[in-house]
């Protein structure tokens, strides 16, 4: 697991993106400014990974001590929507 340096440090989203570019960051202690939008004051990064699946163990570990755990991509978001068919 890639644990974040300075794990106790509260960071803004801009600071997180600057320190961990193009990575999935596992966040706890997030102080949501507006819970409806993606807007928070600061959060604590407990792990960071290049691949989303690699972040899962860190998310599960964080749930041992927190009721809310976030995992967000710090890079650009893009992609086309898939289409579904049920069987």
């Amino acid at each position: 697991m890639a644990r974040a340096n300075g794990r106790g440090e509260q960071l803004t989203w801009d600071e997180i993106c600057e320190r961990f570019p193009d990575e999935w960051v596992v966040l706890v202690d997030t102080s949501w400014v507006n819970e409806q939008d993606f807007e928070f004051g600061t959060a604590r990064v407990v792990a960071h990974h290049k691949r989303r699946k690699d972040a899962s163990p860190a998310v599960k570990a964080a749930f041992q001590n927190h009721d809310e755990v976030g995992c967000f991509w710090t890079g650009a978001i893009h992609g086309a929507s898939p289409r579904l068919s049920l069987s």
Binding site: D37, H78, S81
Partner: protein, 167 residues
């Protein structure tokens, strides 16, 4: 009316949702693409696994056909889901992988959106949402009966949280 903001400069409309675990205590904030062309609301399987859900709790196997081929997922009910200022209890989502490079954890589709009236103001980067529960909508939204035979409604708001309105 609820107002949700999004970054109008992006190619996609990204909104924030939340999904709760099976015991209703732990939850995950999610970034989701608003997709009015998708029938189901999709959440990455690892998100559901992290919250304590299991594929064995799924209701049906599903298939997603895309440019890269045919992949299986499953339908599963989560105890609570919120997005755009509204919440749904016992809400069915589609657990399915998305390409790694997308940077999102799911899509919000018509399974959630069809219960709302919404107006996307692309230039302003705002989504205006009103609840629109009518008899016709209820009739189109099958809900699983509880053991007592009653229909499951929405759950109460989380104490101390934003007062999302039940759908």
């Amino acid at each position: 009316m609820k107002v949700t903001r999004f970054d109008a400069d992006r190619d996609l409309i990204i909104v924030t949702g939340r999904v709760w675990g099976p015991h209703g205590r732990q939850w995950r904030p999610l970034r989701l693409v608003l997709d009015t062309g998708a029938a189901e609301t999709i959440i990455l399987p690892e998100v559901l696994d992290e919250l304590g859900y299991s594929p064995s709790q799924g209701e049906a196997i599903t298939v997603m056909r895309s440019a890269v081929g045919r992949e299986e997922g499953y339908l599963i009910r989560v105890t609570r889901f919120t997005c755009l200022g509204y919440q749904a209890g016992d809400f069915r989502v589609h657990a399915h992988d998305l390409p790694e490079g997308w940077g999102i954890e799911g899509l919000i589709g018509l399974s959630f959106l069809k219960q709302l009236n919404y107006e996307v103001r692309s230039v302003e980067g705002r989504i205006l949402v009103r609840r629109a529960v009518t008899d016709a909508v209820r009739a189109r939204t099958p809900r699983r009966p509880t053991r007592s035979g009653r229909l499951r409604g929405s759950l109460r708001n989380r104490p101390g949280g934003t007062p999302e309105q039940p759908i």
